[in-house]
C-alpha cells in the first residue's frame, strides 16, 4: 500500500507530462515510452559514477527534453505525422538507452540515491508518502503557474485553436516543440526517480508507459473534473495514484503481473468509451469531448 502510493506519486510527474501533450497540445505523444527509460538510464549511470543523485535527476530532465525536441522537429519541420514522429523517436531511443546503460540493466543497490536519502530521513511510511506527495504537488503547481504565463497561454491556444493563435503571431511549431520538450523532460525525471525507487534501471521499464500516462489522465479527469487548469492537473496527480492503487489491488487479488499491460489497455478503453455511452445520441459534442 505504502509502496503503491509512493510509486503513484512518482508516476504522477510522468502523468503531468502526458497531460501537457495529450490534453493541452492535443498531441498523442508516444515518445514517452523511450524518454522514460532514457531518464532512468541517464540518472542510473551518472549515480553509479558518483554524481550527486539530484544532479543526475536534473540530467534526466535534460535528456527527456532532448527526446521531446527530436519528436517535435520531426513533426513540425519534417511534416511527419505526430503519432509516427513519436514512434520513430521511441524506437530510436531504445538503442540509445542501451548505449547509455552499456547493457540492459544498471543496478543501483548500495548507491546513494534520492530515495535512499528519503529513507534515511523518513523511512518507509506515511512520512515518506507525504514527502513524495509534496514533491508531486510542487510539480503540479509549477505547471499551473506556467500554463498561465504568456508563453503557457500560447501553448494552450496552440492545442485549442491553431489557426487562431497563428493569426496572433505565435509560431505554433515552436510552441509544439516547447510542449513536447517540457513533457518529455518531466517523463525523464519520473523515470529517473522510479529507477532510484526500484533500485535499478532496465531497458524495458518504459514499455507501455504511454498507457499508464493516459489512464492516469483520463481516469483522474473523469473522476475529479477539468473545469480549470488547477483542477485538471490535480486530477492527473490523483489519477496516477488511483491507477497505481488499482494495479496493486489487482495483484493482491491474485492477478498475474504479466496481465497488467492488458489491464491498463482495457482500463483506458473503458475510460474512453464509458462517457460516450452515458451521453445521449442527441449530444455528439459529448462524445467528441471524450476523445479530446
Amino acid at each position: 500500500m505504502i509502496t503503491a502510493l509512493e510509486l503513484g506519486l512518482i508516476y504522477a510527474i510522468m502523468a503531468l507530462g502526458v497531460y501537457l501533450t495529450f490534453r493541452i497540445l492535443n498531441f498523442p505523444d508516444l515518445t514517452v515510452d523511450g524518454s522514460f527509460t532514457s531518464g532512468a538510464a541517464t540518472a542510473a549511470i551518472l549515480i553509479t559514477n558518483g554524481v550527486n543523485p539530484f544532479l543526475a535527476t536534473a540530467a534526466a530532465f535534460v535528456v527527456g527534453c532532448l527526446a521531446g525536441l527530436i519528436t517535435g522537429l520531426l513533426h513540425t519541420k519534417g511534416n511527419i505525422n505526430g503519432l509516427l514522429a513519436g514512434i520513430l523517436t521511441m524506437i530510436g531511443l531504445y538503442s540509445i538507452n542501451l548505449r547509455i546503460m552499456g547493457g540492459a540493466n544498471v543496478p543501483l543497490l548500495g548507491q546513494d540515491t534520492m530515495i535512499s536519502a528519503l529513507r534515511s530521513v523518513a523511512g518507509v511510511g506515511w512520512t515518506s508518502v507525504l514527502v513524495l506527495a509534496a514533491v508531486a504537488v510542487i510539480f503540479k503547481l509549477v505547471m499551473d503557474w506556467y500554463l498561465h504565463t504568456d508563453n503557457g497561454l500560447a501553448l494552450q491556444a496552440t492545442g485549442d485553436n491553431e489557426q487562431m493563435i497563428r493569426s496572433f503571431a505565435v509560431s505554433t511549431d515552436r510552441q509544439k516543440i516547447t510542449g513536447l520538450m517540457l513533457s518529455n523532460g518531466l517523463v525523464g525525471i519520473s523515470g529517473a526517480v522510479v529507477a532510484q525507487h526500484q533500485g535499478f534501471a532496465d531497458i524495458g521499464m518504459g514499455i507501455g508507459l504511454i498507457l499508464v500516462g493516459l489512464a492516469s489522465v483520463i481516469v483522474g479527469q473523469a473522476i475529479f473534473g477539468t473545469r480549470t487548469v488547477f483542477q485538471a492537473t490535480l486530477a492527473v496527480v490523483l489519477g496516477a495514484v488511483i491507477y497505481r492503487l488499482a494495479i496493486q489491488l489487482a495483484l493482491n487479488v491474485g492477478l498475474n503481473p504479466n496481465d497488467m499491460k492488458l489491464m491498463s489497455a482495457v482500463l483506458v478503453v473503458a475510460a474512453l468509451l464509458l462517457p460516450q455511452w452515458k451521453a445521449s445520441p442527441s449530444s455528439p459534442a459529448v462524445a467528441r469531448g471524450a476523445q479530446r
Binding site: T149, D150, A154, D160, M164, I165, F168, V170
Partner: protein, 263 residues
C-alpha cells in the same frame, strides 16, 4: 502601405483540376483605406486575403507592407502586423480559454511571450473597458470560457481581439456571413467604428452589396482571379446595389448566388 503587385496564384497547375485563383492582381492601398471586396464564388477573394496573410504563398508577384516585401515571411511572422477575422465565428478565438485569457493572447501580438503572468489585474481592467464597447455584457464574464458564448458574441470578440493591438492591416473575410441579420448588423457596426477609431487599413470581403457600398471608402469587384472594377469613394457614394448587380450581369459566366443579398 499595402501593395500587391502582379500577384498570381494557380492551384494544381498543369492538372485537370487547375484553378487560376489570382491572375496578375495589382492593388495599392493607402494608409487608412477601407476597401470592400465583392465577387462571385470562386472569384479569388479569399485567396487574395490569404496571400496577404501568408497563409497562401503566391506563385508570382510581390506583397509589400510599409514598403517592405513580406512575401518570404511566414504566416505567424506577418501576423505581427496583420489582424484577421474569419468567416467561421469559431475560428477566431480559443474555446477552452476564458475571455480574459483570449484577450491577453491578442494583447501580446508581435511581442515577446515570456514567463510573465498572462492576465494581471491591470490588464483585466483594460480588457473589461474594451469589452464594454461591444455592449454585450461580456465585461462581466471575463472568466467565462469562450466556447460557451454564442456565434455572434464570439465573432464580436474575435473582431475586438483582431483589432486590439492595432495591426497595420486588418483582413475580414465574410466575417458577418455566418451570423443572423441582427448579429451581422452589430458586428458590421462594430467593424465600422473600430476601423474608423483606429484608422486601420482594411480589406473586407462581403457578399452583401448593400454592406459593400455602405462600408468603407473604396470597393473592388473580382472575377475569375482578376480585379475587374475599382470604385473610389466618390463614385461609390453614388452607386446603388442595382448598379453593382448590373456590373455582375455584364460578366460572362458570373452567377450571382443566393448569398448575395439586396435588402
Amino acid at each position: 502601405m499595402l501593395s500587391i503587385t502582379s500577384v498570381s496564384k494557380t492551384f494544381f497547375p498543369g492538372t485537370v483540376n487547375e484553378r487560376r485563383a489570382l491572375v496578375d492582381v495589382d492593388l495599392e492601398m493607402a494608409e487608412g483605406d477601407f476597401v470592400t471586396v465583392i465577387g462571385s464564388n470562386g472569384a479569388g477573394k479569399s485567396t487574395l486575403l490569404n496571400t496577404v496573410a501568408g497563409r497562401i504563398i503566391q506563385d508570382d508577384g510581390v506583397v509589400a507592407l510599409d514598403g517592405k516585401d513580406v512575401s518570404r515571411l511566414k504566416e505567424h511572422q506577418r501576423a505581427a502586423r496583420v489582424g484577421r477575422v474569419f468567416q467561421d465565428p469559431m475560428a477566431g478565438t480559443a474555446p477552452n480559454l476564458t475571455i480574459e485569457e483570449n484577450l491577453s493572447l491578442a494583447d501580446r501580438r508581435g511581442k515577446m511571450r515570456g514567463l510573465a503572468r498572462g492576465v494581471t489585474k491591470a490588464k483585466r481592467e483594460r480588457f473589461a473597458e474594451a469589452l464594454t464597447q461591444l455592449e454585450l455584457g461580456l465585461e462581466k464574464r471575463l472568466k467565462t470560457k469562450v466556447g460557451l458564448l454564442s456565434g455572434g458574441q464570439r465573432q464580436a470578440l474575435s473582431l475586438l481581439m483582431a483589432t486590439y493591438s492595432d495591426p497595420r492591416v486588418l483582413l475580414l473575410d465574410e466575417h458577418t456571413a455566418a451570423l443572423d441579420p441582427q448579429r451581422a448588423e452589430l458586428v458590421t457596426r462594430l467593424t465600422r467604428s473600430v476601423v474608423e477609431e483606429k484608422g486601420l487599413t482594411t480589406l473586407m470581403v462581403t457578399h452583401n452589396m448593400v454592406q459593400a457600398l455602405e462600408v468603407g471608402n473604396r470597393l473592388i469587384m473580382m472575377h475569375e482571379g482578376r480585379i475587374i472594377l475599382d470604385v473610389d469613394a466618390e463614385r461609390k457614394s453614388q452607386m446603388t446595389p442595382e448598379d453593382l448587380l448590373a456590373e455582375f450581369g455584364k460578366l460572362k459566366g458570373a452567377v450571382v448566388d443566393d448569398k448575395t443579398m439586396l435588402q
